[in-house]
Amino acid sequence: MQETKTYKKQFVILSLVLLVFFFANISLGSVSIPLKSIFGSIFGNNIENNSWQYIIQDYRLPKAFTAILVGSGLGISGLLMQTLFKNPLAGPFVLGISSGASLGVALVIMGASTFGGFLSTILVSQWSLVIAASIGSFLVLLAVVMVSVRVRDTMAILIIGLMFGSITAAIVSVLSYFTSAEQLQQYIFWGFGSLGNLSWSELGVLSLVYLIGLLISIYAIKQLNTLLLGENYAKSLGLDIKKSRLIIIVATSLLAGTITAFAGPIAFIGLAIPHLTRQVFKTSNHKVLLPAVFLYGAIVMLICDSIAQLPMSDYTLPINAITSIVGAPVVIWLLIRQRKMMF
């Protein structure tokens, strides 16, 4: 598809906005650090205050990068889901993909204790969380797709997604009944969602898997555009529907799965960001939407995280609460303006 308009200006502005919020995010926090020291620390100059150095380099900087990956990754996986299911209300959280990832994580964190000490140390490593979460989301997504092939009604798919969410939640509560208080606490804290718990090496793992998911999404751009015509037309244009579906599902599971493994199940970002983007860019062309969703997702997540920090105070709110407060009204607003709900 051709860009009948050029979007260069919007992209430049959005990138600048992203940069501004990135630095704003780093400079806000319970300890106030002068801007000069912040820049100094980021660009490798030694600054006089060691604890500032530590706060910035080992806490705020990885947190800001995590926010960018989480926001953009969830936004993109939401976009892929909305096109695949031809449903404007689809998203990783709504379709039960996040629940699938939660189940994977729950099995690893809580299930590991039942295997005893030796296995638990192997199981609760970074990679096992990532793998379990990705497999969990992949399986749930596959199940939703399989049902959706039989059930054509788009609203039914959402309800099926919610049902899968309930099933996984039920299994998680059964698991938590048999688990130790410590591990249950670990799981519950994970469930609040947090961007700030990642070390640089964990961030490395997240980035790597994220990058693979992103590259697959870029590869799928043409197929996503074809799918906008509906499956029968897409087939008549020579598209291998089954293969495209699989590619899109794999990309989504990698993105949503790993992000959920590291940052907890984060609500509404995946659903709301693609819509906000369409409102501004007024196109369905994925060649424009994909980079735009990336930028919007990253910006919104940085803002949500800055709010969660409650600037000038010692409290940090769970990120999930903030994204829900921002995201839920967006969904209600979308439902009221039915006609504008387009994928």
């Binding site: 598809m1 051709q2 009948t4 031809k86 870029i218 590869y219 751009i221 043409k222 555009n225 074809t226 906008l228 015509l229 509906g230 029968n232 037309y233 087939k235 008549s236 244009l237 020579g238 598209l239 291998d240 369409r278 196109t283 369905s284 062309n285 060649k287 006609r339 387009m342 994928f343």
Partner: protein, 264 residues
């Protein structure tokens, strides 16, 4: 009447269509032998539920035939890959489940997908084709409009333009005139006629507009309970084929006007 032998685009031999389940075969129609030539406008008519859609689905390889043979350009359609088929056959369907958020230009440009690179960038050639088909269907002034802003008639023209952009020898349309008023029904079918003449593509459509089809088509395929026959409208009228289309209690075919009349 044209004497010279034209190039045959689609041909069926002893085709039998229907549904196969594990236990039994449900035959909907059999012994179908049709030949579509280059540049022909062909109408497929028949009563509701007679199997027009099944025939079109079989011809477009969506559904397997029970027996018999379908060939395009003298090659069996089984030997076509998805992409090859996309370059030889384009469709206009009754479903409108595509994203209405696309602009007219974007939607038509999607017809170029079998020819574009991995990310779907349009070359200058692609843009020329898109622009030409918009002129052919006279929708150039709509190109920046979103699909949800269009009327049913405009949308149908856009879908036809999209099929044209796919640049295939054969275009198959499933009931392109439903939901349209009388003027637009005639307009769309007349447009198909003009396009078949101008672009030398073969256009096959199913329709309930029998009188319009008789006036415009080079060839008609008539599906009735007993048989599937094809011929020029004149031949079919002389053979009395239209009399077999419907039960005779309410409407009868009037040979002189070439249309159905309510019994008085």
């Amino acid at each position: 009447m044209e004497i010279k032998k034209q190039h045959i685009v689609l041909k069926t031999e002893q085709l039998s269509i229907g549904y196969k389940s594990k236990k039994e075969e449900t035959v909907i129609a059999s012994n179908i032998n049709i030949e579509l030539q280059q540049g022909e406008l062909v109408g497929l008519v028949g009563a509701n539920g007679i199997g027009k859609s099944t025939l079109l689905r079989t011809l477009t390889k969506v559904q397997q035939p029970l027996s018999g043979h379908i060939s395009m350009d003298s090659k069996s359609i089984d030997s076509f890959s998805n992409l090859e088929l996309a370059k030889s056959l384009s469709l206009v369907l009754t479903e409108h489940s595509f994203s209405k958020n696309l602009t007219v230009f974007e939607l038509i440009a999607l017809g170029r997908q079998p020819y574009t690179n991995w990310i779907g960038n349009l070359t200058e050639d692609d843009k020329t084709v898109v622009s030409r088909v918009m002129e052919d269907t006279s929708i150039k002034e709509l190109q920046h409009k979103k699909c949800f802003e269009l009327s049913d008639g405009q949308l149908q023209k856009v879908m036809i333009a999209r099929a044209l952009a796919q640049d295939t020898a054969l275009i198959i349309l499933d009931e392109p005139t439903t939901h349209l008023d009388m003027y637009h029904k005639a307009y769309i079918l007349n447009l198909l006629k003009t396009l078949a003449n101008k672009t030398n593509k073969t256009i096959l459509f199913s329709s309930h507009e029998i009188d319009l089809a008789i006036q415009l088509c080079n060839k008609l395929i008539v599906m009735s309970n007993s048989e599937v026959i094809s011929g020029t409208p004149k031949e079919l009228i002389n053979m009395g084929s239209f009399d077999t289309l419907f039960p005779k209690d309410l409407i009868v075919f009037d040979n002189d006007s070439g249309s159905f009349k309510v019994k008085k």
